[in-house]
């Protein structure tokens, strides 16, 4: 029975939530909230349960690459399955998504207009995200990926602010362009997935086990898949959807998008591009190291002169997500572990940032840092949270950013040739630039004298805003203070991928 599989419930619950929302009226806000809170709490509980159960299984010696695997034939002529399974990384990603959906629900407590429709699309978006992380069949994975992308258009185009139609269109088109590359890459992998005379398969585990893709094909397909996922991971020069898209998106969408959706890019990069095409990854990594290295520095420098809070964080995301892909391309366990930790850390931190920006914007009705100042005096709670998010972003020990970045730097430094060294040092230099732009914002926005006297009457955070931010801060501090179990879980999950890469090196 398909529902015996725990993972399927990550998709079933959102579907039930959508059904529940469908029964609500737009005017009955409380019913909508009830559905959302119950659903997202269930998802969070499920993610926590999965995480605990997974660790117990591993502890008790379940050493298969993926656990909770299940596979159901969906379309026989093309050998498409609904195949699910998780390793430590997917578990953590599911956890991250559940936390952010949970926090995002509270952050959009007073969404207006059409709350029901908003939450419907929002839930569909999260269905896509959850589905993506549980899939081990490339086709279903791709399908869920698309499911996650499409609602963005409506969410930004309708509930957004500023040049929302333009940004929604730009975001969707660029990401769709990315998926076009991706589709080509996935098809290529599919057709080459079987050894002579075998049946081609979409299943990642099977492909990794049996496929011997010709190196010249690997190179081509690697470029397709890496660029395809790289677009979503905001890789230079395909990142420009990110500033515009984030700037116009409503709070919860920004949270989910920067927090989780951008992680789909990084996840796909190692799960498909690197894992399935290891030889090409070894050969071509240098090209993308250059591009992602540029992303890191370029995003950080661009963020230094922005004046819109969301633009600052969007560029900062370019820099931080660049770090994710950069670390993945180092192709060693430590750096790749760091990449996953950076995904988690960046997801939580950016979600917190965007939530706070939404809350501040909801009060001051501006996001221009030149129009604000001294908010710490007026809204101390939000100010303190913003500072914590900032400190996480600039890598303060005790918060998640530090452990992630340090793991990346230490891991990346294990490649001893000059090319890698130069780029690692370049990437390290981002810690200074990050400090510059974060402190610039904190200094202008929160500290100093109150800029606009109208702001003096504004209120501090209310209960649902506090709830939303506290959830995220606790997670950020949790990772930052006790990183080792996460690091070990990830390192363990990387073993087969690293083995593939090392196999591909010869």
């Amino acid at each position: 029975m398909i529902f015996d599989n725990l993972l399927i419930w990550f998709v079933v619950i959102p579907v039930l939530m959508m059904a529940g929302l469908g029964l609500c009226r737009n005017s009955s806000m409380n019913a909508i909230r009830a559905v959302m809170v119950v659903g997202s709490t269930l998802l969070l509980a499920l993610a926590v349960w999965l995480c605990v159960d997974f660790l117990c299984l591993r502890h008790n010696g379940a050493d298969a690459e993926m656990l909770y695997t299940g596979s159901w034939m969906w379309y026989a002529p093309l050998n498409i399955h609904l195949a699910v399974g998780v390793d430590g990384i997917s578990v953590l990603m599911l956890m991250l998504s559940a936390i952010i959906v949970f926090a995002g629900t509270f952050a959009s407590w007073k969404i207006n207009p059409l709350p029901k429709n908003f939450f419907l699309w929002f839930t569909l978006l999260s269905t896509g995200v959850f589905g993506f992380f549980i899939s081990i069949d490339m086709f279903t994975m791709f399908m869920f990926y698309e499911v996650a992308l499409i609602p963005m258009y409506l969410l930004i185009g309708f509930w957004g602010t500023g040049r929302k139609e333009y940004s929604a269109m730009k975001l969707t088109l660029m990401l769709m362009g990315g998926s076009a590359f991706l589709m080509l890459g996935l098809l290529g992998i599919f057709w080459h997935s079987a050894p002579e005379g075998g049946v081609p398969t979409w299943n990642i585990l099977e492909i990794a086990r049996q496929a011997q893709i010709d190196p010249s094909w690997q190179r081509l397909l690697f470029c397709f898949t890496f660029v395809g996922f790289g677009v979503l991971g905001a890789m230079f020069p395909f990142h420009t959807w990110s500033p515009d898209g984030h700037a116009c998106a409503p709070t919860a969408v920004s949270m989910l998008h920067a927090g989780v959706l951008m992680k789909l890019g990084g996840y796909g990069c190692f799960r498909i591009a690197i894992y399935l095409l290891p030889q090409a990854a070894n050969e071509l990594a240098w090209i993308f190291i250059i591009l992602t290295g540029i992303s890191i520095v370029y995003g950080a420098f661009s963020a230094c002169v922005q004046t819109d809070l969301k633009y600052i964080n969007a560029y900062s995301s370019v820099s931080h997500c660049g770090m994710v892909l950069f670390a993945l391309l180092m192709l060693n366990t430590t750096a790749m572990t760091g990449a996953i930790m950076q995904m988690l850390s960046h997801g939580l931190m950016t979600a917190l940032f965007f939530a706070l920006i939404g809350m501040i914007y909801g009060r001051t009705h501006t996001r221009d840092i030149r129009q604000m100042g001294g908010l710490m005096k007026i809204m101390p709670y939000l100010g303190v949270c913003y500072m914590i998010a900032g400190f996480a972003s600039l890598g303060l020990p005790g918060l998640s950013g530090f452990v992630a970045e340090m793991t990346i730097f230490v891991g990346s430094f294990q490649d001893a040739d000059t090319f890698h060294r130069i780029f690692v040092i370049l990437a390290c230099s981002a810690i200074v630039t990050t400090a510059v732009y974060i402190l610039r914002v904190v200094g202008k926005l929160l500290l100093g004298p109150v800029y606009d006297d109208h702001h003096l009457t504004l209120t501090d955070a209310n209960w649902f805003e506090r709830f939303s931010t506290v959830t995220l801060i606790v997670c950020i501090a949790g990772i930052g203070c006790f990183p080792n179990w996460i690091s070990e879980t990830i390192q363990h999950s990387f073993a087969p991928i690293i083995a593939a890469i090392q196999g591909g090196a010869f």
Partner: protein, 647 residues
Amino acid sequence: MDITLPILILALPIAMFLILGIGGVKMSRKVAGVLGILGMGTTATLAYIVAFTYFFSGNPDFIIDGVRLQYQVFDVTWLAFTQKLIVNIGFLLDPISAMMLVVITTISFLVHLYSWGYMEHEPGFQRYYAFLSLFSFSMLGLVVATNIFQMYIFWELVGVSSYLLIGFFYKLPSAVSASKKAFIVTRFADLGFLIGILILSYYTDTFNFINLTSNPEAVLTSTGGATFMGASVLTWAMVLIFTGGMGKSAMMPLHIWLPDAMEGPTPVSALIHAATMVVAGVYLVARMFPVYCVVDAAMTFICVVGAITAFYAAVVACAQIDIKRVLAFSTISQIAFMMVSLGVAYDRPIEGVHYAGLGYMAGMFHLFTHAMFKALLFLGAGALIHAVHSNNYTAMGGLRKYMPITHWTFLIGCLAIAGIWPFSGFFSKDEMLAAMFARHWFWGAWMTMVAGLTAFYMFRLYYLIFWWEENPHYKEHKPHDAPWQMSLPLIFLALVSCVAGFIPFGELVTWDGVPYHIHIELPVAATSLSVAVIAILLATKMYRVKNDLPTKVKNFWPTLWEAAHRRFYWDEIYQFVVHKIIFGIICRSIAWFDRHVIDATMDGMAKVTNVASNSIKGMQSGNVQAYVIWFFLGAVALAGITWLCLV
């Protein structure tokens, strides 16, 4: 050793931070203050017990055959990067960490107490105590680090607490920019530190201090003679690690943040920017001392940077008006003194020198005595500022009658820093100069000159505050000594400054744990003492009573005075580089490039698609004749192609 006490030493301050930080809003000032002071007092007591146990218990963990050992009380895994590179959080007891425990907790406790009086009327009192606790936690974690990465972790935390405390008066733009500057400059230095750690750990496969320092030759060989740009990679690593120390300890050219950091509350300056955090760089070099010893180039670098900084800061201190800035530059100069002292030390006998490790011992000794008398001077300055509500000596003068306690304690501080027998500074400075003369006469002579300058500017400051001419404003607003919470620390520190010189420091702290009997080197002592006395007499002549001699001296070469007053334009240079070049040119052009080239290309593709579809949409006209023509042309073209292919 039982691990409860060491754990509590770290846990209490962080617990205080969390309690005061989260619950502070709901607490009254009194509760918050008492909690903070009690918490720190307990921590100090525990630290004293631990240090006492380490030095005097005779436990074989700590001392065998008269040699003091390094002992890791605990060392637990925090994050494993690879199989070998593992970050632990631990507690290392050895002579210098035990000494630092005493220094930090003592000064921190006194500052907690002092702040109760000093900050009484400031808003955010609870927050202030929370930050002080956070700082104490970070600093304690830094000194007891068992591995270089733990040190880096707490190093960053110290930086952030410093940022928070400098910017405590966050409504003042000057405080905000000072805190930002401090953080970014030290962050820049930490980048060097980080890269240094990466290089070192890559070759040695360990972060642990004991592994690194117990066999420096192995560290040297582990790099396999790899070089980069003409210098061995180990030299690079050690110099880069030292860069981190240069940032925190405000060595040239990364000193620019420290004078500005005086924007913070004065007790904070006493704690962080005089006694504890700024010596972190010295502590780092001392910690890695055996490794530095096998890298001669790095040691020379430390000496040169220290010597230049010491002289520069002393000159600048002679031309400052703000009393806290004078003290700040004096701190820079004194720390540079310690750096040179470490730089001239050596871990094995060298010809003609009876004890090559003297510089290490002397540097640590000076670190200890300096922490005490500099905290005293800063707290004294705080009492003065509290009384006259200005940082500038121009608002002071003739205060000795009004504030006797502050006057006498400040005088003791000045005598100590000037190096007058029998105050503590004399002993430590004498040992440092002896070590420098022993290494090379040049270092000794140069630093004796700096010592003379020190005596001069400190007494200039002293006379301008307490003598010179009574300020007319006192009639309206009579200055008076500070309340007991503030006076008590002053008196205590003054007493310490009187007697600390007689501590047999060499018996306790040496680089290898082998005790050393301090003895005064008469020629060196006589030279430095006479230089100091001459400098003090000169200052007395110039500044004791109001006269026009200072103006004459100033007008003798006004450009020099102006340049010294403006700190030789370092800030302007940095402003130019950061604002005009980095922000103005690099960041702006990247942002422009992003919007106008990359994004425009993407938009351009969309436009091209639009234009293309607009231009061909006329084909779908609905006009049947047109369709027929297109159909016919298509058929002909196909037929033509088929024919060509067949033929």
